[in-house]
Each structure stands twice: as structure tokens, then as C-alpha cells.
Amino acid sequence: MNDTPNIENRAHTLFRASCDDIDDATLARLRRARVAALESPPTPLARRMLMPAGALAAAVLALVVAWPRHPAPNAPPAPVVATANGADNAVPDDDDVDLYNDLDFYTWLASQPSVASRRN
């Protein structure tokens, strides 16, 4: 049995009945909305055309500003520039130099058995 017409008819009938049941306050507001719409001046065609154009321009501008700028993949590395006092950026600070100079000592220290293992 095909019940589609039943659903369609019933939905349509219910909907129409609900449209007839709208309260007076809502009808009054709908009427006011209609009058306000009819009173509003028509939007000029130029403005209707300009609005999408303006939105498109704004979107393009935003895209250009927000576009991530990556360096070219084959670009040569940036040359090392000496700082104002003539020091090279690649030179480590003093602590790193001390650690490097004492590297032999720290290697020997690490190879020594701990105090606890010597007692055992």
C-alpha cells in the first residue's frame, strides 16, 4: 500500500491549519513588517553590484596579507653577518668553551666506578 499521499496530504492539511491558527499579535507584527518592507526605498542596482565586489576585494586582500611567506627552497643560505663588536655569531659563550676544554676530565670521571660500588 502506498502511504505517501497520506503523509503528503496530512502534512499539507496540518500546515495550512497551523497557518490559519496564528495569533492576532503575530499577524499584526507580520502586517507591520510587510508595510515596512513596502515603504523601504529600493536598493540601487549599482550598490547591489558593488557589495559583492567589495566583499571579494576584501577577501583577496585578507588572503594576500595572511598568505604564509616561505623562503624559496633553493635559496642560498643567508651570509653570516658579523655583529657590531666584531664577534662571530657561531662562537659559543664562555661556559661552552670551558666544558669543551674539560671534556677529557668529564669522560674520565664518568668511567670511574661510583663510591657505593667501591664499598661493595
Binding site: 502511504d3 518592507a37 513596502l38
Partner: protein, 205 residues
């Protein structure tokens, strides 16, 4: 209040009323009366359609008012036979906008407060019960609630196709224009909607 002052007040009220009447006549003469008639004929169905989709009277009124404004401002000079699909297209987009805004707002509220307080949950549509046949109206109300709930479960495009084609009696071409798709797509959406509604509205058989 002295007699002269009262007369003066009365004259002022009368002149204001006359001015309003003149403005009404001017409005009637400057606007095509058929657009007024068109909007008057469609406003109830538009309101109910928006209310069923949005579940809120104020939002529905806003959507209908926006659609009327947009049609009158931008498309009043179009041929009258184009108004129906144009109006429903505008209203459909407006309803979708409001639904999306509501969803974003709900997400933001949930994110800010760490929970959703249910403020944006859609209330059941509740038609007024002021008629002479309470039992019949109760049955109609329950049926309407069931229909609204079933429509809520449909995907948006299927719901739009059913609402425009079946409930608002638009023909296939007008529905397609209002939905911005082909008539074939409307048939597909409608067929799927009917399939789901048959399962959801078992009691209607």
C-alpha cells in the same frame, strides 16, 4: 484643561491622522499593489515555515521580515511570477544563516562556559489552542509536533524540499529555483525525505 487648548490638541491629532492617511495613499499608489498582495498571501506560511525550522517565534518573525525587506528592496520590479521562488529562496537562506549563527553561538557559549546550558535548544512548536474543538485541536497539535520533530531529523536539503514542495505547494520548477538546484535534485531530496518520514511517522499510516 481649557476649551481652546483641548480644541487645539484635537486639531493636532486630526491633522496627524490625515497626514498618516495621505502617506498610506501615497504608499499604495507608489508601490504595485500586487506585491503587497503577494506578501500578504505568503506571510502566514512563511512565518510557520520559519518557526518550524527555527523553533522560535522571534527568530521566525525576523527571518520573514528580512525576506520581505529584501524582496521589496531588490526585486520589486521583477515580474510577479518570479516573486514566489525569489521570496522562498531569500527566506531559505535567511533561515540557514540563523541556524548557522545559532550553532556557532552555541559552540562559543559551550567553549566559554565549559558546558552547554541548553539555552539554544529548540522548543517544541506549540500552536495556540483557542478553537471550539479542543480534542481535534489537541490531536492536530500532537500531529504537528510529531511532524516538526520528524522534519528536524531530516538533512537540511531534504527538509527544504519537503517544506517548499509539499507544505507550501510550490511546483517543481519554483522549488528548484528557491533551492538553487535542478528539478531532478528536488525530486531526489523529496523522495529521500518521504522515505524517512514514512518511517518516522508510522502512526500516520
Amino acid at each position: 484643561m481649557p476649551e481652546s487648548q483641548r480644541d487645539e490638541e484635537e486639531n493636532r491629532v486630526n491633522s496627524t491622522a490625515a497626514a498618516l492617511a495621505t502617506a498610506e495613499q501615497v504608499r499604495e499608489s507608489t508601490h504595485a499593489p500586487s506585491l503587497n498582495a503577494f506578501l500578504a498571501g505568503v506571510e502566514r506560511a512563511a512565518f510557520r515555515t520559519a518557526q518550524m525550522a527555527l523553533g522560535d517565534r522571534e527568530d521566525a518573525l525576523d527571518a520573514v521580515q528580512d525576506a520581505m525587506l529584501r524582496l521589496a528592496r531588490s526585486y520589486a520590479k521583477r515580474p510577479a511570477e518570479e516573486w514566489t521562488p525569489l521570496f522562498w529562496s531569500i527566506l531559505r537562506r535567511r533561515i540557514t544563516d540563523l541556524q548557522r549563527r545559532r550553532k556557532v553561538r552555541s559552540i562559543m557559549v559551550g567553549w566559554l562556559h565549559g558546558r552547554d546550558d541548553g539555552e539554544d535548544s529548540l522548543p517544541e512548536w506549540d500552536p495556540p489552542d483557542d478553537g471550539p474543538d479542543p480534542l481535534g485541536r489537541l490531536t492536530d497539535r500532537q500531529s504537528m509536533q510529531a511532524l516538526t520533530a520528524a522534519l528536524d531529523k531530516l538533512p537540511r536539503r531534504q527538509r527544504e524540499a519537503f517544506t517548499l514542495r509539499v507544505m507550501n505547494d510550490l511546483d517543481g520548477a519554483a522549488t528548484a529555483k528557491a533551492m538553487g538546484c535542478s528539478e531532478g535534485s528536488v525530486k531526489t531530496h523529496l523522495s529521500r525525505a518521504m522515505h524517512t518520514l514514512r518511517q518516522e511517522l508510522e502512526d500516520w499510516r
